[in-house]
């Protein structure tokens, strides 16, 4: 992989993951290469079972117990997440890498209130959050001051107290609890949930699908992560709600200045919101390019097939499908894993594995047609 001039947040190199099942080993990831640049939205697309979610889970160390990381590294700002100890990794999840999942119904704990599920994040390492919480509250007080043209006695006292506390970075227990709650509510407000104070006390089942997705985004937002992994966040949503969620994601990205890895199977969503795209097939990244470049000039036969099969809402055209079906990764095809379905297969393909090479600036492809 060519050295990229732009600064990267996440560098995944040669990531190989195997799942051990009763029936045999599933070679889920076969040397994934991926890098997310600072401040960008990178789309990771592929069909179900191609390993896009596994990649995300591997990065944050949340693979199920039967998974084994055979090789590879995931560098977050230069530190390898995969080599971290348990506690270090937990802190990395708490602070640096947040993940938002697909189905907001099953991912929120049904018996805990939305508020608790947000505040517990802060409570797990309060000292990390105190400066932000104080800053946030001070801003709120200033906002009240501005709009009311003055402050009540209580708020003045509170402001003085907080300013004093911000020097020592210490808070009393009750004070900390109160601030945590206020902070959580302000986060709920920033993901534009109506009546955040009420939502704070509500349980997931009382929210609509879109609201649950926002609540989950709030849980990521609280941490102001360097990298946000969004795993199929719009899949379970209706188009109108999906549009809301995507819009929200874009706005928040600007506000908290984070990078986003948007995992999806929907090429239309990618076209709408991503800066760059990585296409995955059967455990490999097969093509990476700038989004306009990829849609205008797809090089890998799989990318071409995928783009040709997407039905469009704007024009009526015959869709072409890719022949065959996704391979069983317990018995992956030899060589290039796409060769059994590839219309341009030639003798080299089943015998060797192509590597991801840069064919034009910023456009990488893993196919023997382009050298490999």
């Amino acid at each position: 992989m060519g050295k990229v001039a732009t600064e990267t947040v996440l560098d995944v190199n040669n990531l190989k993951v195997i799942f051990h099942t009763y029936a045999g080993d599933v070679k889920a990831l076969d040397g994934v290469e991926l890098s997310v640049r600072k401040g960008e939205v990178l789309g990771l697309v592929g069909e179900s079972g191609c390993g896009k979610s596994v990649t995300a889970l591997a990065v944050v160390g949340l693979l199920p117990p039967n998974a084994e990381i055979v090789s590879g590294e995931a560098l977050l700002d230069g530190t390898n997440l995969l080599a971290m100890g348990k506690d270090e990794l937990r802190l990395a999840r708490l602070r640096d890498v947040a993940i938002v999942f697909q189905d907001p119904m099953t991912y929120l704990n049904p018996v805990l209130s939305v508020g608790l599920q947000i505040t517990e994040i802060i409570a797990s390492q309060p000292d990390l959050f105190i400066p932000e919480m104080i800053k946030n509250r001070l801003e709120e007080i200033s906002a009240i001051e501005k709009s009311n043209g003055g402050l009540t006695r209580e708020l003045q006292v509170e402001r003085e107290k907080l300013q004093a506390a911000s020097d020592t970075n210490r808070l009393g227990n009750d004070e900390q609890k109160r601030l945590t709650q206020l902070y959580a509510i302000s986060i709920l407000k920033s993901v534009r949930l109506p009546e955040p104070e009420k939502v704070f006390k509500m349980y997931p089942f009382e929210l609509s699908g879109g609201m649950r997705q926002r609540a989950m985004i709030a849980m990521a937002l609280v941490r102001r992560p360097k990298l946000l992994l969004a795993d199929e966040i719009t899949t379970a949503l209706d188009v109108t709600v999906q549009a809301q969620a995507l819009q929200l994601l874009q706005q928040l990205k600007e506000v908290i200045d984070t990078s986003v890895l948007l995992i999806t199977h929907d090429l239309a969503v990618v076209a709408e919101v991503c800066d760059r795209v990585a296409v995955m097939y059967a455990g490999n990244v097969v093509e990476v390019a700038d989004v306009t470049e990829l849609y205008r000039n797809p090089l890998h036969p799989y990318t071409q097939g995928l783009l040709a099969s997407v039905p469009r809402v704007d024009v009526v055209a015959e869709q072409k499908s890719i022949q065959g079906s996704v391979p069983d990764l317990m018995f992956p095809p030899s060589g290039c894993r796409f060769h059994p379905r590839c219309p341009k297969v030639f003798e080299k393909c089943p015998n060797a594995k192509p590597t991801l090479i840069e064919v034009s600036p910023g456009h990488l492809v893993s196919c023997f047609l382009f050298g490999g």
Partner: protein
């Protein structure tokens, strides 16, 4: 333990499915132990008439001998037994019968009762449970309320009253345990069928024009039967425990009857002179019951769809 992977193409057809199950079975030592114990118990039950003369339990041998005369444990009861040894591997009971022979005769009796109870409970459960779930409405309500009645009282209490009133015979014993057992199966089958009948394929069958009985008995019940069979396997052990507990407290047709609970009951009075009289029958109950429980537990793991990829 990491299994040897299967070859591609090995996973097709119903036979392959069975093969896969056996493959999983081999990988799970706990099930294997349970499987071996259960099969061994069934085998002993089947060939027991060949090993021991089935009518020998009437023959008392009161030509007694003394084998254990430890003053520390001489509690003043006559030491009338032969100890475990070469002639009688597990010694004799107070009637002078070989304990090992009596136990070989007892295993088929206990197993037969257990199988009868469990199978009848499954049949009753499948019939009433599936109908209650599928038809719903008042019928469902009625069947549920009746099971409520039986679930609200400890079964053993009902069984005791039944046996005392209806007479002490193996048939009444079986019936009494069954009466307290079937409601669980009705509930279990009902909840299984309720879950299964919501699946889209049932909807498809209805759209296709299939009638209720066809959908219920050709599709829904066969698809929900696994958890019921697993429960049945587990319950074979529990029924043996219940039956032996009832005979242990004296609800037996005859004190001579070779039945594991009764053997233990007869032995308990000689606890300190001949502890083997209660040790071995109890241990046998434990092992058989554990065997079926291990088997059922393991089968549950094997048929767990989450493990089936």
């Amino acid at each position: 333990m990491r299994p040897k992977p299967l070859e591609a193409g090995e996973l097709y057809g119903r036979r392959a499915d069975l093969k896969y199950s056996l493959h999983l079975l081999k990988l799970n030592p706990v099930v294997l132990v349970g499987f071996i114990i259960s099969i061994a118990a069934l085998l002993i039950a089947l060939i027991s008439p060949l090993l021991v003369n089935p009518s020998s339990w009437h023959l008392q041998n009161l030509d007694l001998r003394l084998c254990w005369n430890n003053p520390a444990f001489n509690w003043g009861i006559g030491n009338v037994f032969d100890c475990p040894g070469k002639i009688y591997p597990l010694g004799t009971d107070q009637y002078g019968r070989s304990l090992s022979e009596m136990m070989i005769l007892a295993i088929p009796i206990d197993l037969q009762i257990a199988l009868e109870v469990v199978l009848s409970a499954v049949v009753i459960g499948v019939f009433f449970g599936s109908i209650a779930a599928y038809v719903g409405g008042i019928l469902d309500e009625l069947i549920l309320r009746i099971t409520d009645v039986f679930l609200a009282v400890p079964g053993i209490l009902l069984a005791i009253v039944m046996i005392v009133v209806m007479g002490r015979s193996l048939f009444v014993l079986t019936l009494a345990v069954l009466i307290t057992w079937w409601p669980f199966y009705v509930r279990l089958v009902r909840s299984q069928v309720l879950g299964e009948k919501e699946k889209p394929y049932v909807e498809r069958l209805r759209a296709m024009g299939a009638g209720g009985p066809r959908i219920l008995f050709e599709h829904v019940v066969p698809n929900s039967i696994y958890p019921i069979l697993i429960q049945a396997t587990l319950d074979i052990g529990s029924v043996i425990l219940t039956v032996s507990a009832l005979t242990f407290i004296g609800l037996t047709p005859s004190p001579l009857l070779p039945e594991l609970g009764n053997l233990a009951n007869q032995g308990i009075q000689y606890f300190f002179t001949a502890p083997w009289l209660i040790l071995f029958p109890g241990l046998t109950i434990l092992v058989i019951s554990l065997g079926f429980n291990l088997l059922g537990d393991g089968i549950r793991d094997i048929f767990d769809p989450r493990l089936r990829r």
